[in-house]
Symmetry: C2
Subunit: 288 residues, 2 copies
């Protein structure tokens, strides 16, 4: 039996909180100062359902740190040792953020909208403050803010079938870790083929709370025969899939190498990144 | 009925968590990625007891951001518009932290240990990241870290009587918002006359988890006739006392003036502070 969580204005609800509660969320955690459901039926039952059917996840807590302005690309590249110079518009990059000692700060998905417009879809630390500090100290021409976007994930083997029923066949063309703006009832939602499971699926960057709730309801009404349920990142599935949780499995004291993130560090690239010199002198982990 | 809180390694326990649970904490919140008890009997019963007797609070979540090194004072003063130039060693300063637009970042208690050794006892945002970003960008000679200190508060009208039974009469000499190193079983704990209630009391900066638990037990065994209980920051008491909660009552979009913190902004001082120019051009709020 877990203790109770006292919800306050400091631990924010999301546009989907009433739906999540109605779907029977049994427990929550707090992530980026926001509610994240943690269990519906049980970890085991949620796991098997995720591996066999399709789930809709309220991952509003994956806050988007928006960086705009002339020096945007410079600031984002300073923060990560992953080479972003060849990034395409709409491409998603899983990337460690590291300080000048090579210590990890966070491990967001970075999305490039344009040269001067980026999003960092962050794990559970206030990355905005680090970006603001760097921008101020280096006198960069950028605006840094947390924008009102509430991601909704559709995950599981039947995710593509379900999301196609809402957005149309066009959505099948989205490649893994790429995104596209999709029309929904007169609005545009960015949709990416990504998500915090290895079961496949999509993340919808909801930018209109009311339409988001309408979308939630539509996903459920169109997914009855697919056995759609509300879900959440599942501890069993993510450990089995090797997805690390910042703050849990790794933290400020770790280098990306210690976390097995070697492939996301561009040691050979000619990039201006705070951590690259330090990381070049650290041994790359050899994984068995 | 509140939902359950799933405790993980990302939402850390404290050295006192077993004691807090044994004392009947009914609900928790997550603050600085750490458990903070929120209710014991009920908000009302906890309130009346706090106003009449003495409570021991596990406020380990008041994390200490430690800034050391040659440029420490410079960095801390950059972060706040409150003039710290006359700070005495051991003095505690409630101070807004503000960016160059005058927007609030946090409202810590700042403690000066020496010119090159400061603590920020922070509210619920990762201020360490902002300090790190500024230090990197401005090339300051500082080390910034979150240190293993778990504050314990003793609050209520009988707090001084109780804490004197543990630390001796000497502790009565500590002035409001000043601190002193007090001996406890061969160790030194910094003790300040401060706390997140207006009932009076002390905060003990526990730097040894095992001794801290021993201290917790001693406070309870020596406080039986004072009706000592475990407690926590109380919503009713803090609203009644006008204590604001960062992230709840105020946030990044507010200036200190909008939060009624005019007295903590040194508009006339000759200080090097990021926000001071912006704040000088903003109207000071006239409070009725």
């Amino acid at each position: 039996m877990n203790p109770e969580l006292l919800i306050s204005t400091r631990t924010r609800k999301t546009p989907f909180s009433s739906r999540v509660a109605a779907c029977g969320a049994k427990a929550y955690t707090v992530y980026n100062h926001m509610l994240l459901p943690a269990v519906f039926l049980s970890l085991e039952e949620d796991y098997w359902h995720l591996c066999e059917a399709v789930q809709v996840w309220d991952v509003s807590c994956q806050r988007q740190i928006e960086i705009t302005g002339k020096d945007s690309q410079k600031l984002v590249q300073l923060m990560t040792p992953r080479d972003l110079s060849q990034a395409e518009y709409g491409q998603c990059f899983y990337a460690p953020l590291c300080d000048e000692n090579g210590g990890m700060i966070n491990d967001p998905i970075i999305i490039k909208h344009s040269e001067d417009h980026w999003w960092l879809s962050i794990a559970d630390t206030d990355v905005m403050l680090w970006a603001m500090g760097l921008a101020t100290g280096f006198s960069l021409d950028v605006q840094v803010s947390e924008v009102e976007i509430w991601p909704l994930a559709v995950q599981g083997p039947k995710a593509e079938e379900l999301i196609t029923r809402v957005f149309g066949e066009e959505i099948r063309k989205i490649r893994f870790f790429h995104s596209r703006k999709m029309n929904y009832d007169g609005n545009e939602f960015l949709v990416a083929r990504s998500g915090w499971s290895k079961q496949g699926g999509f993340e919808i960057y909801v930018n209109d709370a009311e339409l988001g709730v309408q979308l939630w309801d539509e996903l459920f009404s169109k997914g009855v025969d697919l056995n759609v349920r509300a879900g959440c990142p599942n501890l069993i599935e993510r450990v089995e899939s090797g997805l690390l949780s910042f703050g849990g499995d790794m933290g400020y004291d770790n280098t990306p190498f210690e976390c097995g993130l070697d492939q996301y560090v561009s040691l050979e690239a000619d990039i201006e990144s705070l951590s690259i010199d330090a990381l070049r002198t650290r041994p790359v982990k050899t994984r068995l």
